[in-house]
C-alpha cells in the first residue's frame, strides 16, 4: 500500500509530504505516526508541508488530529513550511489550525523543539525521564 515515509532523526520523527494526498493516504499517515511515536519513544513530530499546494479541510483536520494525538502520547508536533497562498486559503475556509504549532522552516522548528525539550527537562528534573535513550 502507498505510504508517506516517516524518518527518525534522534528524538524527532520527520515527515515530508511530497505528494498530493488522497484522503485514505492522509488517514494512513495519521495511524502510522501514532504507531511510530509509541514504538520509537519520539518526543517530537515535524511535518514539512512546503510541497503541498493545497490544504483543504480534510488535510487540515488530519494535521490537527496528529497534533492532538501526539500531545496525548507526550510528543509535540510542529507543522513546517506552509505556503502563503495555502495559509490565506485555509483561514478563509474557516480553519485556523488552533492547537497546531507551526514554524516557517525546519531550522526554526528544530529551535522551537530544542527550547521546548530543554524547558521540559528543567521542569521534570534531569534523569527522571527514562524515555529518552536517544
Amino acid at each position: 500500500m502507498e505510504r508517506i515515509p516517516i524518518l527518525k532523526m534522534g528524538p524527532v520523527l520527520l515527515v515530508s509530504i511530497q505528494v498530493d494526498m488522497h484522503d485514505q493516504l492522509a488517514l494512513t499517515l495519521q495511524d502510522d505516526l501514532t504507531d511510530r511515536i509509541v514504538k520509537t519513544h519520539a518526543r517530537s513530530v515535524l511535518i514539512d508541508i512546503s510541497s503541498l499546494e493545497v490544504v483543504d479541510s480534510f488535510i487540515g483536520r488530519m494535521l490537527g488530529n496528529i497534533a492532538a494525538m501526539s500531545r496525548v502520547l507526550d510528543a509535540e508536533t510542529v507543522v513546517v513550511g506552509m505556503r502563503p497562498a495555502v495559509a490565506i486559503t485555509l483561514v478563509e475556509l474557516g480553519m485556523s489550525l488552533r492547537g497546531v504549532r507551526t514554524a516557517l522552516n525546519v531550522e526554526r522548528a528544530m529551535e522551537m523543539l530544542q527550547v521546548a525539550s530543554a524547558n521540559g527537562h528543567a521542569a521534570m528534573g534531569e534523569g527522571t525521564d527514562d524515555r529518552r535513550p536517544d
Binding site: E53, D56, A85, I88, T89, G94
Partner: protein, 134 residues
C-alpha cells in the same frame, strides 16, 4: 460571456478528488489566475468533490472556462444523484454536518468563490455551482 471550453470528470472515489484538484489547477493556471486565486478555487473544488463522493454517493463535475471582455472565469458544477439536502441554508452554516466532517466544506467553498449556487431536493440529488473570476 463565452464558454471557451468544457470538460466533464467523474467524481466517484477519493482518487477522483485528487484528479479534480489537478484538473482545476491546470485550468486556473491556463486562465491566468494568480497563485492565491488558483489555491482558493482548487481548495473549494476539493471540498465540493469530497461532498459529492461522501454525501452524494458519487457524481460528476463540469469545468467551464468563461471569457468576458474584461475578465476570465472558471465555473465548476458538481452534480450528484444522492439523497439531497433538505435544508440548504442549514447545510451552509459552518459546523453543520451529517457525517464525520468538520462542517466547513460547503460554507468554505462559498467563501472561496465569487459566485455560488446550490440546488438540492431530498431524493433528487444536489447540484453546486461555483465561479471564480480573474
Amino acid at each position: 460571456m463565452t464558454v471557451a471550453r468544457t470538460e466533464k470528470l467523474p467524481v466517484q472515489t477519493s482518487e477522483d478528488i485528487v484528479k479534480v484538484r489537478q484538473a482545476v489547477r491546470a485550468w486556473a493556471v491556463q486562465l491566468g489566475f494568480s497563485l492565491v486565486d488558483q489555491t482558493k478555487i482548487v481548495t473549494a473544488a476539493s471540498e465540493l468533490a469530497r461532498n459529492t463522493v461522501i454525501y452524494g454517493g458519487g457524481g460528476t463535475v463540469e469545468l467551464e472556462s468563461l471569457l468576458e471582455p474584461r475578465r476570465r472565469g472558471l465555473r465548476l458544477t458538481f452534480a450528484d444523484q444522492g439523497a439531497g439536502i433538505a435544508n440548504t441554508e442549514q447545510a451552509l452554516k459552518d459546523g453543520f454536518t451529517t457525517g464525520n466532517g468538520l462542517g466547513l466544506g460547503l460554507g468554505g467553498a462559498k467563501r472561496l468563490s465569487n459566485e455560488f449556487e446550490i440546488h438540492s431536493q431530498p431524493g433528487a440529488g444536489t447540484t453546486v455551482r461555483i465561479t471564480r473570476w480573474t
